[in-house]
């Protein structure tokens, strides 16, 4: 492509945006609004996903040991658990440590324990962390078989509900994002088609004087890309503002809620939305022009 041709394309697309001022504004706002909604859902889905994986990673098996074991036997059990597939960490919690934690959890009501005196009814235990939550059940069953193990506990129901919830959130999120993306594309195709329709005579004349299809397409594609990019910019600014406000609020008052930190998460979201805007604009133009090229 010659530089003068590229220049011509850019001038043409800018002229077209200016000439169809109201229409361009409509496309711009459509892109902005669609991408804004898309962005909100991406933030929502990614954060739910993040929370789910944080919760998933917290899944662990607690192994209670019989009180009669000698130290060597305890160590032996520990090594055996470590060798099980999927086990990433094994922490030994001595009964004294368990009592301390229990006291801490009781807080002001520690007095309840006074009756026990020096006696400690809590057993020695292991906290076993696993690499994948699907492994919890088989590993727990395997540990329960070991000699000297009183019980291997895990929140079976909680874990299984969590699985189905996160799976649903993921599937629903992907479907929703696809759907919104398509809806945005559809609206943009229709808006650009109107500007193309207004110029169909021009396209016809271009074909008669021997313009190639790509020569005709380029100004429209540049127009679509510009509108898509600007629309995405309009969506990205309030979205970033909103997320930094949200994370600020949550960190202050709901610190236990594991939100994704603003950096680099919002950077990725913004880059994605800008690319989506550009892509949707370009694709929308190509689709809109297609019908009018058959002369």
């Amino acid at each position: 492509m010659k530089i003068s041709t590229a220049e011509y394309f850019i001038t043409e697309s800018l002229n077209s945006i200016r000439r169809n001022g109201l229409m361009s504004l409509a496309s711009l706002m459509t892109v902005a609004l669609s991408l804004l909604i898309l962005g909100v859902f991406i933030i929502l889905v990614m954060n739910l996903n993040h929370m789910a994986s944080v919760l998933e990673s917290q899944v662990q098996v607690t192994v209670y040991l019989q009180d009669t074991l000698k130290e060597v036997e305890v160590r032996e059990i520990g090594t055996r658990i470590t060798k099980l597939p999927g086990v990433t960490r094994v922490n030994f919690i001595a009964k004294e440590e368990a009592m301390n934690r229990f006291k801490q959890r009781l807080g002001e009501q520690q007095g309840l324990l006074a009756e026990l005196g020096e006696a400690n009814p809590l057993p020695n235990s292991f906290e076993v962390k696993l690499d994948r939550p699907e492994r919890v059940k088989p590993v727990a069953l395997a540990i329960a078989q070991l000699k000297g193990v009183e019980a291997a506990r895990y929140g079976q129901e909680v874990v299984e509900q969590l699985f189905s919830l996160t799976r649903m959130v993921r599937i629903f999120g992907v479907v929703l994002i696809l759907f919104l993306g398509l809806a945005a594309l559809f609206i943009i195709v229709n808006t650009i088609r109107l500007t193309v329709f207004a110029r169909r005579r021009e396209i016809g004349i271009m074909k008669y004087v021997g313009a190639t299809d790509w020569f005709i397409r380029w100004p429209f594609i540049i127009e679509g890309v510009l509108l898509g990019f600007l629309g995405a910019c309009i969506a990205v600014l309030p979205l970033t503002q909103f997320y930094s406000m949200l994370t600020g609020q949550v960190y202050e008052s709901l610190a236990f809620l594991p939100l994704l930190p603003k950096y680099p998460f919002m950077g990725y979201v913004n880059i994605f939305l800008l690319c989506a805007g550009i892509g949707i604009g370009a694709l929308g133009s190509v689709i809109s022009v297609k019908k009018f090229l058959k002369v």
């Binding site: 492509m1 010659k2 003068s4 041709t5 011509y8 002229n15 000439r19 005579r201 021009e202 016809g204 004349i205 271009m206 074909k207 008669y208 004087v209 021997g210 313009a211 190639t212 299809d213 020569f215 002369v295």
Partner: protein, 228 residues
Amino acid sequence: MIHLNEVTKVFDDGFVALSNVSLKIGKGEFAFVVGPSGAGKSTLIKLLFREQLVSAGEIIVNGRNLTELQPQEIPYFRRSLGIVFQDFRLLPDKNCYENVAFAMRVIEASRRDIQRRVKHVLDLVGLLPKAKIYPAQLSGGEQQRVAIARAIVNNPAVLIADEPTGNLDPETTWETMRIFERINQSGTTILMVTHDKPIVDQMMKRVIALENGRITRDESKGVYGYED
């Protein structure tokens, strides 16, 4: 230049627009195509610049066999033709100069060539002083002259005109015809579809008459031959 060999065009609804038409138009010729409405004149034009494809037979224009032309070759083929329509088909938001330059931009001519050629052809049709004026402010005759300038700006070997004087008054018609004649004298082949009896009768060029999709008459110095 233009060679039709037993060309038949049947539309999807079964209407036969052209039936077994054979025709040869040599380099530098000036030929009128006449005939009543629905005779197949417009179809002939559409076939000639490959807006439509023949149903049977073959068409060769400028040495290219249009039946074998790939879709992506069509634009390059059309650059060897100039086309003028009854309704001018100028771009309303471009001035005269830009309308003519447009045909050269499409083929990615250099800026210097564009300036030189556009000025030259606007001068040829007598509109150089109005180069900066928009089509809406021009008379019909002037608009058609801009369209002619656009059609010849790329030096086509063949100029096809579809009732170019259909929307013009008699005086402007003659002005326009003189321009066509000058273009023809410089060696460009011209094929003109027309309903204009006086110009056909007076110019004494080749006349090809089409009726019901068939050639009924082909005379080297013919007349219109129909009552208006």
